[in-house]
Symmetry: C2
Amino acid sequence: MITLTSKDNAQIKQAAKLQKSARCRRQTALFVAEGLRVCADAMKSGAAIETLFLTEAALEKNTEICTELSACAAKTFLVTPELFAHISDTQTPQGVLAVIKALDKSALFDTIKNGGKFLVLDNVQDPNNLGTILRSAEAFGVTGVILSADCCDVYNPKVVRGSMGAVFRLPVCTAEDLPQWLTAHPQLHTYAAVVGDDAQRVTETTFEEPCAIVIGNEGNGIRQATAAACRHRITIPMNGKAESLNASVAAAILIWEMVK
Amino acid sequence: MITLTSKDNAQIKQAAKLQKSARCRRQTALFVAEGLRVCADAMKSGAAIETLFLTEAALEKNTEICTELSACAAKTFLVTPELFAHISDTQTPQGVLAVIKALDKSALFDTIKNGGKFLVLDNVQDPNNLGTILRSAEAFGVTGVILSADCCDVYNPKVVRGSMGAVFRLPVCTAEDLPQWLTAHPQLHTYAAVVGDDAQRVTETTFEEPCAIVIGNEGNGIRQATAAACRHRITIPMNGKAESLNASVAAAILIWEMVK
């Protein structure tokens, strides 16, 4: 295994750039998975590992998994702890990082007419929220997730980590023009999640398949054009005094009610 | 209004220490609320503001609320932006920070025999989780929250902010010895939340009042002594492949099922 020591190495430069830049991820169709568990999740899901970076310490501590990862990777490099810190997005790096080919999940779009329970996200911005939402969607058995083009990048390192591997396993697609996409799928029963008493309570809603709950931006909710393209409006009834729920909590409650 | 400029000022030193040290918060029975909205929430809830720190810019931008806050505060100081950054716990400080007297909510313990729906947290460690859980508990109308003594401090600045003011309005108490406390309240129907097929599904559970759901640590779940002191074991049934839910998502689903 080759040991890298310089920040000027092309592989190191690319990994560092993929961590920071959504544009770079889009242009190269690559992204980064960091941490032993996340990388192992990626491998188990059959993701194609382009480059694996390991520190000596990580290789010694978790020899078996690191060797397995390395066998799956097209290239493996050992890096010094200092250099690893340069490509890491975490405060306490584990010394395991993989550059992975973005997965093509556009086949999801073809299956919608056959039924299923979907989640549609309109301009969700916070990577921690998006990661948690994907994790909940997978845990509760959502069929797939459709994102508006201006959602937080699904391959943002915080999303990849926060989703606990759901990003590898769950079908996730982007709709370039979400209102148009919704209109183009008239067979889909769409439920726009809103705050307010004039919407149907989610507890009193029967979800007809194929169905999709549409969730909006953390601060501003669903955009008008998106809401207008939905058939129903639903809301989470609240007994308490708080004005709103955390976005990933609201999404979890809605998913829970849709799938159970 | 006096303008403070030195880090050595006793008020500044205290505020900075209260942000960082749970021990200092316990010893002084004071804590910090930061941000315009959080401070306004504290004021509306009748919290006693000991000291208010404002920057000139904050006072100009939100004169009305800042003046109201100042009228409620025992003391108000103007501070320079540099000094404010020193006492702030956020990356983009708003220039409004209050030192507040910790609220005595131990009266909660006396009301339990009269009914209600409670949440018990056993060694929940992450301040972001705790803040989100308190926010959900308030939104869904939980009667009160009981924390084990080793939970994250409820007056941790991240909890105060993440709870969106719930920490001021929701009755929250600490049980010094949680298993003993549970045993000492035999009238309470206690439901330990666990992962596993051998527990009752929360969807098939009827919660009898007064009731309490007990939620454990993010990584390790409920401790054995705590679980042993509970009458029932409940679980969230999951359709998907994920091994677990985010801790604050799991708590929200359980609260939702208890109160609805």
